[in-house]
Symmetry: C2
Subunit: 202 residues, 2 copies
């Protein structure tokens, strides 16, 4: 009984390399391989994989969004998120998107193989260290608007630019930023953006 796999990662080299790695297992077969999130569902329909390995950073549609669509449309296909690194918020979002596994790219190769076999048995697989970090980071205390403002502020936009882009007054933007700075326990915009990002609050 071979396990049919779908690979989605925007880096061709990595995708090819992972494919080579996984094909070393006799009972694994990579049946589809795509570079864009918005090709995932199409490929899954065509090739009916048992497990889909999705990277998060991808053009078109990110891995988390792709996971949502895929699990909704093809619940028999298990989704494992395989991403460069365990930002706390990713794990939470991955779970709500219907993923049953979360493997970071610096795991040992056997860990990935093992994770695939386990999700096939119906288990959920999550890196324990990452799970702990996510619990520690906690739920985001930011309101929707605060998130919006921080997201725009990421690129280094000024208050005026943020206000223009969000159709808010400058004073309001300053207020949201001030609250966000307080909630992140930081002392300026840059740090607030940084730590909110790290904790997966954006």
């Amino acid at each position: 009984m071979t396990i049919r796999l779908l690979l989605a990662d925007d880096q061709d080299l990595i995708r090819g390399a992972l494919s080579a790695l996984l094909e070393l297992e006799e009972d694994f077969e990579v049946v589809a391989s795509v570079a864009r999130g918005d090709k995932v569902v199409e490929a899954a329909r065509a090739h009916r994989p048992d497990v889909a390995l999705l990277d998060i950073e991808m053009p078109g549609l990110d891995g988390l969004a792709a996971a949502s669509v895929l699990t909704a449309q093809m619940p028999e296909c298990r989704v494992v998120i395989l991403t460069t690194f365990g930002r706390a918020g990713y794990l939470r979002r991955a779970m709500t998107a219907g993923a049953v596994g979360f493997v970071v790219k610096d795991a040992r190769p056997e860990a990935l193989v093992d994770a695939i076999r386990r999700v096939m048995r119906g288990e959920r697989v999550i890196d324990p260290a990452l799970a702990a970090a996510t619990l520690a980071a906690g739920e985001s205390p930011l309101t929707g608007r605060e998130r919006d403002v921080l997201n725009v502020a990421r690129s280094g936009a000024t208050v005026a630019e943020i206000a223009a882009k969000l159709y808010l007054s400058e004073g309001t933007v300053r207020n949201y930023l001030s609250v966000a700075i307080a909630k992140t326990g930081t002392r300026n915009r840059m740090e607030a953006v940084r730590t909110a990002d790290e904790r997966g609050w954006l």
Copy 2:
């Protein structure tokens, strides 16, 4: 005549996958595989690879520094930098560190294989698009101190903190930041840090 390879990448999974990929070529042999930059020279001494594939982001010693040491001590071993992201400045530094190849991780798998064969023939191999971007970014116009200040500012430090860390007066720090902002053609600290970083000026 088999080509002996050394792999250095901090992500176990990627390293394993690349190894699987490269071993598919009959005349390639991965003779060493390390996760830390400061293990590169040691492994190279022990296994005498023909080509070393080095990632840049690694603990201990980054790939560029490792490349310097390696080419100095074992000039017969060709260094190819294999990294996630073609930041303009990396290429320049890689070349001065003695690398003869630079491949980005989103290249096609055949491109990597091809690059290895070509450096074995004595050629230099550089992604043409990346080379163009690097030329466009130009040499860094920043003075040493300006770089220092920007580097500290990266974490979101305030002027006072930067001044304390660098043993400068606050006014001086503000001056350097002001000049750096002007030289990068940006409008605040955040953008200056961002673009200087992207151009490899840090």
